[in-house]
Amino acid sequence: MSDRFRDPLDAWYDEASALLNEDAVEARWPSPEQLPARTGMPSVAWGTVMHVVVVAVICGAALMGRVDPWIVPTVSLAATASLGPRLILSRTGLREPVELAAGLRGETQAQAINAKTWTVSAWALGALALVALVAAGYTYGSYAASSTPFLRLAPLRWSLLTASLVGLCGLACVESWRAKEASTQASALELSLELGDAAEGSNWSERAGARLLLALIAVCGAVGSSHVFVPDNEDDSPGRALVIGPRAVGHAAWIHERFGLEARGLSVDEAWERSAQRFSGQAGELETLTHLADLEGVGFVFIDLAAFPIDLGEREDIELVTSLTTDPGFAVLTTGDVNTLSYAGGWSSVGRTRSSWAPVGPHWASTGAAESWMHGEGMHRDAADHLALARALFAQPAFRQPPDIDEVGDPPQLNGRSHTLLRGVVYFGLHADFWYEAVSAYEGMEAAVAEGRIPPELEP
């Protein structure tokens, strides 16, 4: 010994050492082959495989439109939640005594305690941040639901989305870091230990499984997040409709039969009562009904303006019309040349005095185009304008198979998935009958009547 601290004390220890070493020790160290194998299973990370299979199946179903797309971020969150604790436990060694965890990593106990403290603190801070973000998402969702049509998602969905994305990002960061560490250690043993269930020596499969899992989770997050930026009618297929008006129940039945939409009819009084329960009455009538549609979770609102007239003398209604027709999340269809909006927008009402009160945006069209088409060119002076607008509307991504409205018999693609990217199609019409008439014209009214698809009470 040549330590600078060597002193007479060491002489005593040297003597003691010599005394103890007189007693020979018999050590039978096991060879590497004699060490117990960690597992006799094939080199497959079964936990990873299960995650991948579950996530893949649900992703596939969501992408095929078989399930609510919102299940994707839900599953992402579940995957995060199921993997997170395993990573925490394995990384921090919370399941093991400090000295054992230290021994398994070749660290000193002080290093192990330090690492555990830091890691636990980091995860705790991360959890707090996640909770804060969920709360913020809920708050923003609440705000958005009551203020702007853009990104108007239910607060809980905002929370889910926020938690899912943040959790995924966190998990991806941790996994990337772990993978980097493992790669610099000339072995993926640690990574396999952390992900669990993996057989020793199956580095390639463990790595591949982990990467595949992460890639799938990233896809889940991406698909889920895409729903934030795409106007959402809150329902995928077959969609729901809310019909408000004096003959709403009959119309709802017809809509259900014709388009397969789950349609619900409300009388004017019922609709107003429901709206009043939700809102304090400060909002305008039309705005209130739009909110009602959101809260009811419907994608289509058919409003009989005989019951809910738009008063273009009211600033709120003018602003709402402008907002709706300018917002890409809405497609506003009006019915025919007699529609008040047409007058207001100045599209078809040359000489009308109120034409400049409510400028309509590009996301507006009038079924007057259909009407014009139904009755032949020339019936309305502005048929060409209506037709062009209708084409523009139907060419939107929402209508994935835009009908050729020059061809008799092509109905507007309102059913199935064609409407799923639209937040809502709000029909402002003088009467729901008018809309019915126009749509019937698309598909051929005679055929519809002949086949008995139109209820007798609705026949024109």
């Binding site: 330590d3 601290f5 040297d14 060490l35 054992l100 000339a186 072995s187």
Partner: protein, 175 residues
Amino acid sequence: MSRDAEPLGPADAQKLRRERYMQVLEAHGESLARVARSYAKGPTEHEDLIQEVALGLWKALPSFRGEATLKTFAYRIATNVAISHLRRRRIHEPVPEGADDAPSPETALERAAERRRLRRAIEALPMSLRQVVVLRLEDLTYAEISGVMGITESNVSVRLTRARRQLREDLGAKP
């Protein structure tokens, strides 16, 4: 230790791990076994502890990055695994005190008696002192003990001094 920094394929990594394992046992196997014996009560438990240390060493070797010497690394693992073993034993498997104290034909020999007394006295030390003493008795330098324990060399010296004082009290005038 440049080899550590290079990414290796699974086969090479496994080969390197095996080489290091054999290297450690060849150079320090006997000493590590004595360390294990210091924490074991009886030959059976000693044998078990050796198996545990071997397994711990085998599992930990892939994470060896050359920041310490392989010797320090191995003693660190042996010490940590032994302490963990002691903790489990206290909880689950109490071993009768003095299981290896059965008289042997050599018990009459003074040196053998001294060895037993010394071992018992070391076992009676607080763990923080016992760890340092066990490593010192295996002729590790202060720097090596410092590396194994994660404490400073001066702290090693202080602990050894305190341990010596307590051993002197326990053993009487001379061990």
